[in-house]
Amino acid sequence: MQQDLVHAIKSNPKYHELVSKRKTFAWILAILMLVIYYGFILIVAFNKAFLSQQLWTGSITTVGIPIGLGVIISAFVLTGIYVFRANSEFDRLTREIKEEVL
């Protein structure tokens, strides 16, 4: 990529908006996923009794079942949230930057 093009893009305010918004959003979601997953692993390692409780009085289903499935579903939901915003807002910003500099 030519150096002048790089400078043109970098001096575009929309570029900075795109980069900082996406960075914040992506890292928040990534950290959220890490917290959910490692939270689950740490409960498994340190507090098995919590996961072994009955989900309702007399149930065989334990609290661990919805929590485990919840981690799986949260992975899907978080990727969905990211795609929803990235494919609309971030792609629109990218398109505008391209139109302005190219």
Partner: protein
């Protein structure tokens, strides 16, 4: 076309010979009688995929066609193909078997296999698409010295591909032996020949469609077994509570099947395993390659979203299948439990990994058993072809075109080299499959993910996000990760004590990723900050241009075509 006719003839002959040979072999205990529906459905799959390969071969002319299916795969198709690459027969049979034996603990594993995907989505998918062309080495050599970086990335790719291949080939041979009553050597050879055909003639386009078909078959088949078993086991009420209730009555662990057990005890092991599973996914070359088959970052993101959905759904199914198997197979009167020849204790026919397969027979008789057997075989074929293509690309695109020929090579020659590499890798896969027949290869999956997480992932993520990385740092960190993860596994309890029987392990943990990943990141950091060379300064300065392309994709669309 003559080549094609010959190839078909040879394949048909070897299939017929294999089946005939197996049919004469009924005396052997470990082989099942020939399942006619399974063979018919498997042959239908082979015919369909070879048809696709023929179609794809007409459309595979350039290097971009061969490595990246011309960049014309949609996000949804690629999502299915990624899911197909990831849902191996080992995870389908292995995790349902794990749930069958351990109950809840199986779920802990499945969760670990899935959570790498959101991380790939947030931190890597669009970056890969914007920076790479055909292989992930394109990304890690983008602003660094080409020869040493490509050599290291290609080595990392090949190590991962070959380790993964051994596990898949041995698994394939054993599975086909049990399911189709086919001799081990024939089974492994048929797999080898088919994948060579798919990859050399059809390239990425054929590999992707084989993967898509297989993903649909596997998801469909697993849905039928899971809900079929739930229906039968709960007398039509479809209530999971009822299923769990019956399982706790039947399983010898009783209520403990519903609780986390002994599988995860040491927090360090748990965290280390979690790291390997989570970040290893982001370092598997055949998965990373899929991001170059879509036209842009928008489609790359969509593909991860769909893939996460399919894979997550698949793991929920394997959990249901495991519990269905407890209820329907574990009672002695089901006829699926046979006495162990050594101990006399009742064990599942074919071993714990056959839970899903046996359950299909219990739910849908011989037809469903045949279908699931064919799907399992198809799954192995598809995963092995994806791996072979990734290995061949590392050889032709990274080692040959960029290291040996320094980029001065015409496209046709490069594609020719990758076809030869495919042939060689196919033969190596067959030979390794035969060599490792009697070995326990279960530890290889863990090793593969540890190496991918420690060697490939750190240099990839740091090259994208950290402007101060230099070639020296990347090389130090990358090699440290590769060597340390391999050494730790060999010196650890799984290989040193269990496989080699050398007594107490020198390295005390089964899962080395926590340590080898730390070493790799430290190596990158120390090597980079200590590097005061002019070359290193230029590399840091060129981060700006890389980052702009990475963020906007400007320059990426054109890059793939020349």
């Amino acid at each position: 076309m003559r080549l094609w006719q010959n190839a078909f003839a040879a394949l048909a002959l070897s299939l017929v010979a294999g089946v005939a040979l197996a049919a004469g072999d009924v005396g052997e205990v470990k082989k099942q009688s020939v399942n006619i529906p399974a063979i018919i459905m498997f042959l239908a799959f082979v015919a369909a995929t070879l048809g696709i390969t023929y179609w794809a071969a007409q459309r595979t002319k350039t290097a971009k066609d061969f490595y990246a299916a011309g960049g014309g795969i949609t996000g949804f198709q690629n999502g299915l193909a990624i899911a197909g690459d990831y849902m191996s027969a080992a995870s389908f049979l292995g995790i349902s078997g794990l749930v069958f034996i351990n109950g809840y603990d199986g779920l802990i594993y499945s969760v670990g296999w899935l959570v790498g995907w959101p991380i790939i989505m947030f931190l890597m998918a669009e970056q890969l698409r914007n920076l790479g062309k055909y292989t992930y080495a394109d990304v890690v050599s983008y602003r660094f010295q080409r020869v040493p970086m490509r050599t290291m990335a290609a080595t990392g790719s090949l190590v991962v591909v070959i380790l993964y291949l051994i596990g898949q080939m041995v698994g394939a041979g054993k599975l086909i032996q049990v399911l189709f009553g086919l001799d081990y050597v024939y089974a492994v050879t048929i797999v080898g020949i088919l994948i060579i055909l798919y990859v050399t003639f059809g390239g990425m386009l054929a590999t992707t469609w084989v993967q898509i078909i297989k993903a649909c078959l596997l998801l469909g088949g697993a849905t039928i077994i899971a809900f079929g078993a739930l229906w039968v086991a709960t007398d039509g009420s479809l209530s999971p509570e009822r299923l769990f209730q019956k399982a706790t009555q039947i399983h010898n662990k009783k209520d403990a099947v519903m609780r986390p057990g002994a599988l995860v005890t040491s927090p360090i092991e748990a965290i280390s395993l979690g790291l390997a599973l989570m970040f290893g996914t982001a370092g598997l070359p055949h998965i990373l390659m899929r991001f170059f088959t879509v036209p842009n970052a928008t489609e790359a993101r969509k593909s991860v979203f769909y893939a996460t959905g399919f894979i997550g759904y698949f793991y929920i199914l394997t959990f249901l299948i495991g519990f269905g198997a407890i209820v329907l197979l574990m009672p002695a009167e089901s006829g699926f439990m046979v006495p162990d020849p050594k101990t006399g204790a009742l064990a599942l026919k074919g071993g714990q990994n056959m839970a899903a397969v046996n359950l299909s027979a219990a739910v849908g008789g011989n037809i469903l058993l045949g279908f699931i057997s064919a799907v399992a075989f198809a799954t192995i074929l598809a995963v092995v072809s994806g791996l072979t293509l990734a290995g061949a690309s590392a050889i032709s695109h990274d080692l040959y075109a960029n290291v040996v020929a320094h980029g001065n090579v015409d496209e046709l020659q490069e594609v020719r080299v990758s076809k030869i590499a495919t042939l060689v890798l196919g033969v190596i896969a067959i030979l390794l499959g035969i060599a490792f027949e009697q070995q326990n290869v279960a530890y290889l999956v863990g090793l593969t993910f540890s190496v991918a997480a420690s060697a490939n992932f750190p240099i990839l993520i740091v090259s994208i996000f950290w402007s101060k990385m230099t070639t020296k740092g990347a090389l130090l960190g990358g090699w440290l990760g590769l060597v340390s993860s391999t050494l730790f596994v060999i010196l650890g309890p799984t290989v040193w004590t269990d496989v080699l029987k050398f007594g107490d392990a020198i390295f005390p943990f089964k899962n080395p990723a926590l340590f080898s990943m730390t070493l790799s990141f430290l190596g990158i950091w120390i090597g980079s900050i200590m590097d005061s060379s002019e070359q290193g300064k230029r590399e840091c300065a060129s981060f700006e241009a890389q980052d702009v392309r990475c963020q906007t994709g400007i320059g990426a669309e054109g890059a793939a075509s020349h």
